[in-house]
Amino acid sequence: MQALDPIFIGWLLKTTLQMATPLVITALGGMFSERSGVVNIGLEGMMLVGAFTAVAGTYFTGNPWIGLLFAIAAGAAMGFLHAIVCVKFKGNQIVSGTGIILLGAGLTTLGLEVIWGRKGVSDEVIKIPDIPIPGLGQIPFIGQTLQIAIGSLSPIIVTMFVLVVVCYYIMYKTPIGLRIRAAGEDPSTLDTAGVDVDLTRIIGVVVSGALAGLGGAYLSIGFENAFGKGMTDGRGFIALAALIFGNWTPVGCFLAGLFFGFLSGLRYAIPIQFPELTGFSNFFRIIPFLLVIVALAGIRRSIPPKAVGVAYEKEKRA
């Protein structure tokens, strides 16, 4: 059968990884924010800003790694803004998130015009080079598939795998992880234990911004080599969907992100393998959104952190 062609499977695996990486990284970021008790629907805006600053930083310094650092810093800055509004000033987290999305879209298109004088796409910059992994072709049976799938990997894809493990470790094996989870479940207990709830939440949201920035940077200097207006194309929302579908856990985010990445990959695979189904590729893009709704409403219920979305106010002495 043509569909089981090892070259095609390898290619599909590669596309899946490429599509999943920004989703998984951003979803992991969203996890830090939401587990600490702050809803972050602004992931889309933070990703956009990350994607843009990565290209701008690379353009000015000529080094994509510095561009990557810029992206993480810019994402963290957007996260900090969200944190200040939501945590310090106890603002409405959803409204602030909407503002972050708008701000991200506005600032990046503005930056495009200021730096390159164009509305659509930036100049092309140097990509982060892929790492070649030699010797895969020698493995029997699956060698050819692996060669195509991970023969040359973007370092950010490797980082994504590392991040999943690191995030799991931080979330469940370290004091800060415990504090972040407590801040999202039962902030008053955390406060009684003598931990600063607001600071914990600010850290969570800033980390989420930094990771979203990294996820956006993968799009612009890992996958492509330029920034395009609105290039995240709703991936921030799909990442949010992956976060919810993955039940707010690192491994869940990873699996959901991979699955949604696979669905996005299908969108590119279908016109090649099954041309007669080309007309329905939009439906594969719709699946993640519908799955989330099913996950929230259906049999296997996704349960959000208990105190998510509610600003924590210390009780005052009368």
């Binding site: 603002g91 503002g99 298109t109």
Partner: protein, 506 residues
């Protein structure tokens, strides 16, 4: 008929005849009284202060961004306001769909629900209206009415489903409506790319055929943009106001929104009301989408909306979920859009600046306490200055210096970062320390002047590095900043020391 006439006459005979002028006067007085009592309401006044302060603050931040990117904010804002006044018909045209989507968000919010999916509901309504508009042939007035009714039904369905899921399965409406938004955009995209695409061999654009002219809404005041959708929108504002404040359903919605548990005890079915309110919200957004198609686009084209639904959320937030507030907010955003056009044409400031301003407004409006905090800071600060005027002068000078050096640093960065990344890094560090100093100063921390002195020292360092690198331009830029910085910081340190001594003496 004659009975009715007789009855009317009887009524007129019973009451002393009142002139129309008198009745009008009484009505105006009544309206003025209610406005007056609203203005005396402290909560309402607070809302107005918060909103307008957020707008001013956002404009200020945007002005700073314009200065940093090399534009003149004063000219830009003048062009923006002039553009909005001259093109008033464009303003109202842009405002029309925002009124609908804003009302949609506001109505759901009255029931305690955050409908962030008006974009999807708008798309579904628009698609439904377009289908009826080009597939069905109907006479002139009936046709648009039929289109809008179907649009309302489509939007209703699209809001009702997440409402049911929320009510009976507890699925959070923020997530479901958002996800359904994308679903609608992708679904309608598929419809216009494949089954409903305009036929024709050389027709590559994803769009439906043109609507029958019988379905078009007439344009208003001879404008090329403004259409009768605005009138429907105004009716919708009044209708939503009436629905919320004067009907049993509205009362129930508000009761559920305030406290679902209490409402249930009082015999109101919260689940049904939740589902219904999201449904009506969806219907409003759907009519908005339909009106845009019938009034302006005259066909459904892929990605026609440019975020009208998202802006609806912003408009509702800005209008504090009050129908009349939504009307004002929509007109304000329409003015920003129309003015943004002419701002770009006349002063070269990219139109995207408007999106930045919108985003900033939303962020500030999200947390009214920012304004409160600033107000308190201002009061504290003025009290502090009254106590020690010298310190105040020092702070003012240092603030001006810090802002000036930040702007200068931006210029330097844009010139030299490519040549000497190391110097660029130092400049960046200096800016960070400079801003740290600024925050210390604003916090009236005694460390402030010392930190700002440190910044000045760093500027000298940068100047030295520049001299070593042999970049004379950079020396010209950095040396004066360093000298001014040192002078001002020393002055501040002295003055603050003097003021602390005075304070210690007391």
């Amino acid at each position: 008929m004659s009975d009715l006439d007789a009855g009317n006459q009887a009524v007129q005979e019973q009451r002393p005849p009142e002139s129309i002028l008198n009745r009008l006067k009484r009505y105006v007085e009544k309206v003025l009284n209610s406005v007056d009592s609203m203005m005396r309401n402290p909560a309402f006044r607070k809302q107005i202060i918060w909103t307008s302060a957020s707008i001013v603050l956002a404009m200020l931040v945007a002005a700073i961004i314009m200065v940093l990117t090399g534009y003149n904010p004063a000219l830009a804002y003048i062009a923006l306001i002039r553009g909005a006044v001259v093109q008033w018909d464009r303003v109202l045209f842009y405002a029309t769909p925002l009124i609908f989507t804003g009302l949609s968000v506001a109505l759901a919010f009255k029931c305690g629900l955050f409908n962030i999916g008006p974009e999807g509901q708008l798309y579904m309504g628009a698609m439904a209206a377009a289908i009826i508009g080009y597939m069905v042939s109907l006479p002139i007035v009936v046709h648009p009415l039929a289109c809008l009714t179907v649009a309302a039904l489509a939007g209703f369905g699209y809001g009702f489903v997440p409402g049911l899921l929320k009510a009976y399965r507890g699925a959070h409406e923020v997530v479901t409506t958002m996800m359904l938004s994308y679903t609608a955009i992708l679904f309608t995209q598929w419809l216009v790319t494949y089954p409903l695409k305009e036929p024709g061999e050389f027709q590559w654009i994803a769009q439906t055929p043109l609507l029958f002219p019988t379905a078009w809404l007439p344009h208003l005041f001879g404008s090329d943009f403004l259409h009768a959708g605005l009138i429907i929108a105004l009716f919708a504002v009044v209708g939503v106001h009436f629905l919320i404040n004067r009907t049993v359903l509205g009362y129930e919605l508000r009761a559920v929104g305030l406290n679902a548990e209490a409402a249930r005890t009082a015999g109101i079915n919260p689940k049904w009301n939740i589902a219904l309110s999201l449904g009506i919200a969806g219907a409003l957004a759907g009519v908005g989408g339909g009106a845009e198609i019938l009034g302006y686009h005259h066909r459904f084209r892929d990605a026609w909306s440019t975020g009208l639904g998202w802006d609806g959320i912003t408009v509702a937030v800005l209008g504090h979920n009050n129908p009349w507030g939504v009307l004002l907010g929509a007109i304000f955003f329409g003015a920003l859009r129309a003015g943004g056009n002419s701002m770009q044409v006349n002063t070269g400031v990219p139109q995207e600046m408007v999106t930045v301003i919108q985003g900033l407004i939303v962020v500030f409006v999200a947390a009214p306490r920012i304004i409160d905090w600033l107000e308190k800071r201002g009061i504290d600060y003025s009290a502090w200055i009254r106590r020690s005027p010298m310190g105040g002068i020092g702070h003012l000078a240092t603030t001006v210096w810090a802002a000036g050096s930040a702007i200068e640093a931006m210029i330097i960065i844009s010139f030299f970062l490519e040549k000497t990344p190391f110097a660029g890094l130092l400049v960046a560090l200096a800016i960070i320390v400079g801003f740290y100093a600024l925050t210390k100063l604003l916090a009236q921390n005694p460390a402030g002047p010392v930190v700002s002195l440190f910044t000045a020292v760093e500027w000298i360092l940068i100047a030295t590095v520049a001299a070593l690198l042999g970049s004379s331009d950079m020396v010209y830029f950095t040396a004066p900043t360093a000298v001014i910085g040192i002078a001002v910081s020393l002055m501040t340190v002295m003055s603050s020391r003097a003021s602390t001594q005075k304070a210690g003496g007391n």
